[in-house]
């Protein structure tokens, strides 16, 4: 290959990589400044349980859907549905139409299937809906989705609702189809997850591993990426097996301080080796050249695999809502093999981008020389950045101050390497970058000192603190519990005194929980609205028997979850919320839960 061609390919890969990273950089920030495509803002899945069709709309935060615009039909004229049943929604006052019912976060619709098709085991659905983005104030065009759902011909033909008897499939064929259908869907879901915080933090880690190699070939870079992905697949397969077997959710196990601590240490080690503190390889004097390469490759593959295992343990938690949806089938059937297959397929889907990045890195990275050294150091900084991102899950870590230190360090480093004898044009560009990074680091320092948390909005705390002068900063007087017996005591107490209870699932590592505690729960209006409520905060920071028991008792996947218990001790099941709620949303839901 001619050098020009080689360089061209390098440039093209660099271009693609930068483009992909930049275009998705917003996912690092919690706020959505731009509008999502309709398919991402409003996601739908469907399932047939017995003779009921259930349609689950998952609505992105800040988006809502209209109750009166939902419709369900089938392309098969034989199929007929009864009347749609809606959950209770949020009533919005419309100046023209009076009250309009809308849904935030999710909407679960159901409809009885009056007539099943005579043949086959699948129905093609046409689902229509309309929705909008609240803060921007724009609406999406009518959404039409087609979905295939499976049904059990045996259950469909029998008039009686399915009993406790295990489901039987009429033929092996339909089992086969269902199985691969799930696996394919899971793989697709994995690919869709590529550009989310579930996968993006893995990219710098992977690049760090590859850059740490002496003269990585394209093949070797790709191979290391594959090893890394294999690590993630293993973890997901095991997680899926247990989910299928026991029906439990695994999210919380992934985010213990031990796991997070371990990966942070490993990342610091990886960064240190990229900085040249030590080499992850044997001294060449001991090995013959051939052996050395082989041993290197083997040890690099193994460490890549292990980092894959551990990083998927940590970032795995962020996929939980989609993960629960995809796993739902395996959990409901209690099938560990299906669970495993679904999760592996999803991990493979998520790994597709990583493997591409791996091969891409092989093209881009220079082979040797001084430049390579500096690239390694910069990758080292990126790896440390991922470490800080992951450490921020713990909550007790002063994230912004760490970011400030890292950014300043990196900024001064880039300034320093520009002093070498290089072209003035390039040197100026690098100095500009370095100054920008230094300013960002400075803002992070100021924000961090003022108690800010987000690296994307380091100075947010300054404007927040100004606003909060007018509002109370007092926290809600939650009764904090960690065990089921304590929680039940509060519930019994409330029932005896005829009071409703707000149950809030909280964990130190749950960013949205903390955000809600700092914003929504400090608003005076919220304090006032909750004045006659008993407030129960279940702290599930630690994953142990106690926290699992509470979660099982309330049937909650994990934090952030908000439950409303009526005076008589029963839950407003339809009002249960997962995820962050703004003051207005929270008050609207609370309004409906008011006795």
């Amino acid at each position: 290959m001619t050098p020009i061609l080689k360089n061209l390919i390098r440039l093209a890969s660099l271009l693609l990589l930068t483009l992909a990273l930049t275009a998705n950089a917003q996912f690092w920030s919690k706020k959505q400044d731009t509008l999502l495509p309709g398919e991402e803002a409003f996601a739908v899945t469907a399932q047939i349980v017995g003779q009921q069709l259930k349609v689950y709309w998952t609505i992105a935060s800040d988006y809502y859907m209209y109750r009166d615009q939902f419709s369900i039909s089938s392309t098969n004229p034989e199929v007929q549905f009864g009347e749609l049943v809606f959950p209770e929604g949020v009533v919005e006052d419309d100046p023209e139409f009076g009250e309009v019912v809308v849904y935030f976060y999710n909407a679960e619709l159901s409809a009885p299937i009056v007539n099943f098709p005579g043949t086959g085991s699948q129905i093609e659905l046409v689902i229509k809906a309309q929705g909008c983005n609240k803060p921007v104030g724009v609406c999406y065009p009518p959404q039409t989705r087609t979905l295939m759902v499976d049904f059990d011909p045996v259950a469909a033909s029998s008039a009686a609702p399915i009993s406790a008897a295990p489901q039987k499939f009429s033929s092996a064929d339909s089992v086969e189809k269902t199985f691969w259908g799930y696996v394919l869907a899971a793989f697709g879901a994995g690919i869709l997850l590529s550009f989310t915080p579930c996968v993006l933090p893995m990219i710098p880690i992977l690049l760090g591993i590859i850059a740490g190699q002496q003269n990585p070939s394209k093949l070797k870079s790709g191979w290391l990426a594959a090893c890394y992905v294999a690590g993630t697949v293993l973890v997901y397969a095991i997680a899926g097996w247990f989910a299928g077997l026991s029906g439990t959710q695994l999210q919380a196990y992934f985010q213990s301080p031990w796991v997070i601590g371990t990966i942070c240490l490993l990342l610091i080690g990886l960064a240190a080796s990229l900085f040249g503190a030590f080499k992850i390889q044997l001294p060449s004097s001991i090995q013959t050249k051939l052996n050395n390469t082989a041993v290197n490759t083997r040890s690099a593959s193994v460490s890549s695999f292990i980092l894959g295992v551990i990083s998927s343990l940590v970032v795995g938690a962020c996929v939980s809502p989609i993960l629960i949806l995809t796993l739902g089938a395996a959990i409901s059937k209690g099938d560990p093999v299906l669970g495993s297959a679904i999760m592996s397929a999803m991990a493979l889907g998520m790994g597709t981008l990583l493997i591409l990045v791996g091969f891409g890195a092989g093209w881009i990275l220079p082979k040797a020389g001084a430049w390579m050294k500096q690239i390694q150091v910069i990758f080292g900084f990126m790896v440390l950045g991922v470490g800080i991102y992951i450490a921020s899950f713990l909550g007790t870590v002063p994230t912004l101050l760490l970011w400030a230190a890292l950014l300043m360090w990196a900024g001064f480093y880039i300034w320093h390497i520009t002093e070498a004898d290089i072209d003035p044009l390039l040197r100026s560009a690098m100095k500009a970058v370095s100054v920008a990074i230094l300013i960002w680091g400075g803002m992070a320092l100021v924000g961090g000192v003022n108690g800010g948390e987000s690296i994307m909005q380091p100075l947010e705390s300054l404007s927040l603190s100004q606003n909060s002068k007018t509002s109370t900063t007092k926290k809600l007087p939650f009764q904090q519990v960690t065990t089921l017996s304590e929680a039940q005591a509060v519930l019994n107490n409330a029932k005896a005194s005829n009071q409703p209870v707000l149950v809030d699932f909280y964990a130190d590592w749950c960013l949205d929980c903390k955000r809600m505690a700092k914003t929504t729960f400090t608003e005076p209006e919220v304090h006032e609205a909750l004045s006659n409520w008993q407030l129960l905060e279940v702290d599930v920071t630690l994953t142990n028997e106690d926290s699992e028991a509470v979660k099982q008792f309330f049937d909650v996947f994990g934090p952030p979850a908000t439950l409303f218990i009526k005076k008589n001790g029963e839950e407003h099941a339809d009002l249960r919320q997962y995820g962050y709620m703004k003051k207005s949303d929270f008050l609207a839901i609370l309004e409906k839960a008011q006795p």
Binding site: L15, A25, L35, D94, C139, P141, W371, D423, L426
Partner: protein, 181 residues
């Protein structure tokens, strides 16, 4: 790697960064083919009509639908502004991506008097060609008397914005309305 190559790489990286950021924030497109909007034959109460034949000195074309709450919220403001600057050559054309049956009662109750054209089937396509590839609503275009696009707005428009346009293009001063009604 030579110095030129390094510079080239730096340039490409910067370009890719800018393009990436641009892709990221692209809600509406600057690539507007206005002819479809101007010439499409749309239906009204009084038979077919086009936007072109209804243009005035300054025209605000607004895409809306009855189910879209933000659209409904801005329409009374449009009506007020329309009434106060109609005589100076200000026109508002509402394009309903909807059917007359669904919208009539609502238009009556809001007392909308500016022209409404219906594009239930073709509205999405027209919006797409007019710089709104995702078909989001409300979407508005401010046109001059020749149909040239002056402004492009996705989302709600407030009185102050319209007043500024009127001042700039028609030299019409509108006193801001009292907030309490």
């Amino acid at each position: 790697m030579s110095v030129q190559n390094k510079i080239l790489i730096a340039l490409i990286a910067v370009t890719a960064f800018v393009v990436g950021v641009a892709l990221n924030s692209a809600k509406v497109s600057d690539d507007i083919d206005i002819s479809a909007l101007l010439t499409a034959e749309l239906s009204t109460e009084n038979g077919p009509a086009t936007v072109n034949e209804q243009l005035e000195k300054l025209t605000l074309v607004n895409f809306w639908a009855s189910w879209c709450s933000p659209c409904r919220e801005e329409m009374p403001i449009f009506e007020t502004m329309y009434r106060s600057a109609k005589s100076e050559g200000f026109q508002i054309i509402g394009i309903a991506v909807d059917s007359p049956e669904k919208t009539q009662a609502m238009l009556d109750s809001m007392g909308i008097t500016y022209p409404i054209l219906y594009a239930e089937q073709t509205g999405m396509e027209i919006m797409e060609l007019s710089g709104n590839p995702q078909g989001l609503m409300p979407y508005s275009l401010l046109l001059d008397e020749n149909g040239k696009v002056l402004e492009q707005v996705l989302g709600k428009i407030d009185e102050r914005q319209i007043a500024a346009w009127l001042d700039e293009s028609l030299a019409v001063k509108i006193a801001p309305q009292a907030e309490a009604e």
